[in-house]
Symmetry: C2
Subunit: 252 residues, 2 copies
């Protein structure tokens, strides 16, 4: 049996009761560490809380060498933990398909995710979000233009964009880095993004949410990861009020 369980947004108390029960009944616990991250809890705390061994998985372990995970799931109950909700990344869908091919029963236990949490954090309405995008760290100084295209197309349709920032093994893209990459992509063009909303440490007791121009936001210290960005469309009255009430609105 292979159970995909979401840890939720930030620390060890963000998992659901269902998720915790699954961990307690598990024979094997795997922690996927490359698509998300619990910023508010280290591996030591997890060990201590669960009283069990936790096998940390890299992207390679999941995508190229999943044999140990599948073997474990054939021999007992294996729980595959991820930050947020477990199936937002393609890579996990692929693992579930492989398990099915091997005749292994699978199950999903959902967790809180930035996909919906962003609405409460920023007041930006769920039904006004268009397609989301991600900004990867440039490889060999090559910056893919896709995220900018998505943002601009959404803006044209008056839709908000949730912008995921790259997560690497030991590197988490900051709001400043994300904005700098977008600005680089807009160099020599007439395009511009009038307003950003930066969100740091969603799900924690003290998330930082700031709305303002790229220029302003780049100079703000958002603190430790995870960070995400939103590019809002024209704000509705209630969205503006909410941002002013619950975000630090850097006036332009």
């Amino acid at each position: 049996m292979l159970i995909f369980a979401g840890l939720g947004l930030y620390d060890l108390d963000d998992i659901s009761l269902k998720g915790l029960k699954a961990i307690k009944n598990a024979d094997f616990i795997f922690l996927e560490s490359y698509t998300s991250k619990l910023s508010g809890a280290g591996l030591d705390q997890m060990h201590e809380r669960y009283g069990k061994d936790i096998i940390v998985l890299s992207r390679q372990d999941v995508e190229l060498e999943p044999e140990p995970i599948l073997k474990a799931a054939e021999n007992g109950v294996a729980v595959f933990l991820t930050g947020g909700d477990p199936m937002v990344s393609t890579t996990h869908a692929d693992l579930r398909i492989r398990a099915k091919d091997r005749g292994i029963e699978t199950k999903i236990i959902h967790g809180s995710s930035i996909v919906s949490a962003v609405c409460g954090l920023t007041g930006l309405q769920n039904y006004r979000f268009g397609k989301s995008c991600s900004i990867p760290y440039p490889v060999h100084n090559w910056f893919p233009k896709t995220p900018l295209d998505t943002i601009l197309l959404n803006l044209k349709q008056n839709l908000h964009t949730l912008v995921y920032l790259d997560i690497q093994e030991k590197q988490f893209m900051s709001i400043r880095e994300g904005i700098e990459i977008l600005e680089k992509l807009m160099e020599d063009s007439s395009e511009s993004i009038p307003l950003f909303v930066g969100v740091a440490r969603a799900g924690s007791d003290m998330p930082v949410v700031v709305a303002g121009t790229g220029e302003k936001l780049k100079n703000i210290d958002f603190g430790p990861p995870l960070h995400i960005l939103v590019v809002p469309a024209t704000l509705h009255e209630i969205e503006k009020e909410y941002l002013k009430d619950f975000a630090w609105y850097v006036h332009q």
Copy 2:
């Protein structure tokens, strides 16, 4: 203090540990019953589990007469429970603003939501979803065309659409009703929707997920609420495989 806490998707075990702690420490518990619903748990079970009074709120209680909620939050710790993640609906953003205006401290505890869960349930990739839409029950036989417009615009851009189905006090729109309304809107037009995915009881141990034409899906008994619909764009290879593996794919 007013804490907005998400109950998560389906039953009493879908809340986070943080949410449960908030309930245990609460002086007043309110349950919002009109934008979502825990299908897997009744009010009696909630009473029993939490050992506290639970005040059930209608839309009118929240939007027009929120005084008792605000008073409670001024006099102690009030927890405002909703199915899913608490701030996906505009109506709660408004309540949070009112609380702030009264000088009441507020906080959000996130929960699992269909917004991200739909990816794991259907295998449809998060980054391929465009703007979502909702189908309301027709009032005086008037069917707003907006949801269809959203779906068709997304299809043109090769994006999936998450289609929320109306939730009324004692009436939950079924997948069949949703499809029938969309078909009515397409009458006398050349538009068509080639594929639907219906999802019933997300977050439960036995969610039902079926992909197929509208004609096929209308004849399937999805069982009790909640239902939602997805209109997928052209499926990627892995999405197709996932649907075939984990959904009941009604072949066309």
